[in-house]
């Protein structure tokens, strides 16, 4: 008799507390958030995205990590990226800076940049920081924040592409690339980047001639024809300069990228 009573009372409680149970832990809002993020970010692999998201929920205390996770939710070329950056900035605004003072200061900004660049070789990160770092006490506006974050995300893509380029230059799969080839390739890239200027188009006079000509020249230098001639010239020199590892190669190629990063004033 006593046994029969217990199951009855156990049945009553689950019916009441199903919804209350969910509400106790606000699972509903959590699910709504995740679904909203999946729809707006459209990740290529939703399951991994879901698991990363739930993993990152544990880092609630560290605002910088939270901001980083939001920024890395989508690729920088998609329009949702800008909204994510704004959201990340809003999160970091809650950081306490001083007595009753909240905002994004140089320290948290630098921390965010460093963690966004965690997969890159250390010298690259150091050089990047020299250009865009901010002193600890400086207040970071959204414009500066957005530009710095965008630069980091593009640099992430750039470094991955460097690796692909290294693999295609390393024909013997030896793990090293001939320094001559690497030098030639680097030179062509630097020449192309030096030619094109970003603020060349004058909106008042509409003059674009030097700009567009330099694009043609840069495109030729990097196309199969120009590259063929440059590599031929390089290989004719027949000097043995040894090999370069992936890290050294990446550092040198990133120099070209970093030369285009504007120094903060």
């Amino acid at each position: 008799m006593a046994d029969k009573k217990k199951p009855n009372s156990a049945d009553d409680r689950p019916q009441e507390t199903d919804r209350q149970f969910l509400e106790r832990y606000s699972i509903g809002t959590l699910m709504k958030d995740v679904l909203g993020k999946i729809v707006s970010n459209r990740p290529k692999d939703p399951i991994t995205f879901l698991s990363d998201y739930f993993d990152s929920l544990e880092d609630q205390s560290n605002l910088v990590l939270k901001a980083r996770n939001i920024i890395e939710m989508t690729h920088h070329s998609r329009p949702v990226f800008e909204m994510n950056v704004r959201q990340a900035y809003d999160i970091m605004l809650k950081q306490k800076v001083g007595k009753r003072l909240y905002g994004v200061n140089g320290t948290s900004y630098t921390d965010l940049i460093k963690t966004l660049c965690r997969d890159m070789p250390q010298p690259v990160t150091t050089k990047l920081l020299k250009k865009i770092e901010c002193l600890d006490y400086e207040a970071i506006t959204f414009d500066v924040f957005k530009s710095g974050v965008f630069t980091c995300c593009v640099l992430q893509d750039y470094v991955k592409l460097c690796e692909m380029l290294f693999n295609s230059l390393d024909f013997q799969s030896s793990g090293k690339v001939d320094k001559i080839l690497s030098d030639v390739v680097n030179e062509q890239l630097k020449a192309a980047l030096a030619n094109t200027r970003t603020d060349a188009r004058n909106p008042y006079t509409g003059q674009t001639d030097p700009f567009s000509l330099s694009i043609v020249e840069a495109g030729y230098n990097l196309g199969p024809d120009g590259l063929f001639y440059a590599l031929e010239r390089g290989m004719r020199s027949k000097s043995q300069l040894g090999g370069q590892t992936l890290e050294q190669f990446t550092i040198e190629i990133c120099d070209a990228f970093l030369s285009k990063v504007k120094r903060l004033r």
């Binding site: 500066v144 530009s147 020249e217």
Partner: protein, 217 residues
């Protein structure tokens, strides 16, 4: 080429007519007089102009009187330098009617130097055109140092016929290297365009902060 313009005074073209009470007709011949008032020893290397429905052009030149022939100064004749140069292959048709021409030294019968006046004679025998003239007439001195035009950029001159047979020893996939490089270029440009232009507002002058260098601007 055209970097040494000759200062001259160009008069309006005069239509040559045959004055006859019964037969007044359009002769189809105009003359432009060119004098050199301020130039001491004019020498012409090149004559440039834009055509407007002129079929033939002739250039006659009058030399300065030589100081020895004091008595024969009245006998100076006009010498033809360019004889009836054809500008329009067919005077009735459109071709060549609005082209740009440059008559160079090679087309002159003799070197034009030390002249006092020049006459440019325009002829248009076709009755089809109501009006004919030459525009934008400019005379240039001859340039002794014929500088070569700047060399063409590499991407125009290099022969792309051999490009399909690219086979460097030891480099099997030139195309993939090239496309990776172009993507890297594209990424860098994209980043450079999106750089923020706002300043943080540092008070540094030339990279260092010095209280004595601070200013209001």
């Amino acid at each position: 080429m055209g970097d040494r313009p000759l200062h001259c005074s160009i008069k309006n073209p005069i239509l040559l007519t045959v004055e006859d009470q019964k037969n007044a007709f359009h002769s189809g011949c105009k003359v432009i007089d060119v004098t050199f008032p301020n130039v001491s020893s004019p020498e012409v290397g090149e004559i440039c102009f834009k055509n407007y429905y002129t079929a033939y052009v002739s250039i006659r030149v009058k030399f300065k009187a030589a100081p020895e022939n004091g008595a024969e100064s009245g006998e100076i004749k006009w010498k033809t330098c360019v004889r009836r140069m054809r500008l329009m292959p067919s005077p009735h048709k459109e071709s060549g009617s609005q082209d740009y021409f440059a008559i160079s030294k090679k087309q002159f019968s003799f070197d034009i130097s030390n002249i006092s006046a020049m006459r440019i004679i325009l002829q248009q025998p076709s009755p089809v055109w109501k009006e004919f003239r030459i525009e934008d007439l400019r005379l240039y001195r001859s340039s002794e140092m014929l500088s070569k035009p700047p060399p063409l950029p590499a991407w125009l001159t290099e022969d792309s016929a051999n490009s399909t047979k690219h086979k460097l020893e030891g480099i099997p996939n030139l195309e993939s290297i090239s496309s990776s490089l172009q993507e890297l270029w594209g990424l860098s440009e994209e980043m450079a365009i999106n750089q923020s232009k706002t300043e943080i507002g540092r008070y540094e002058v030339d990279g260092c902060y010095e209280v004595n260098l601070l200013a209001y601007t």
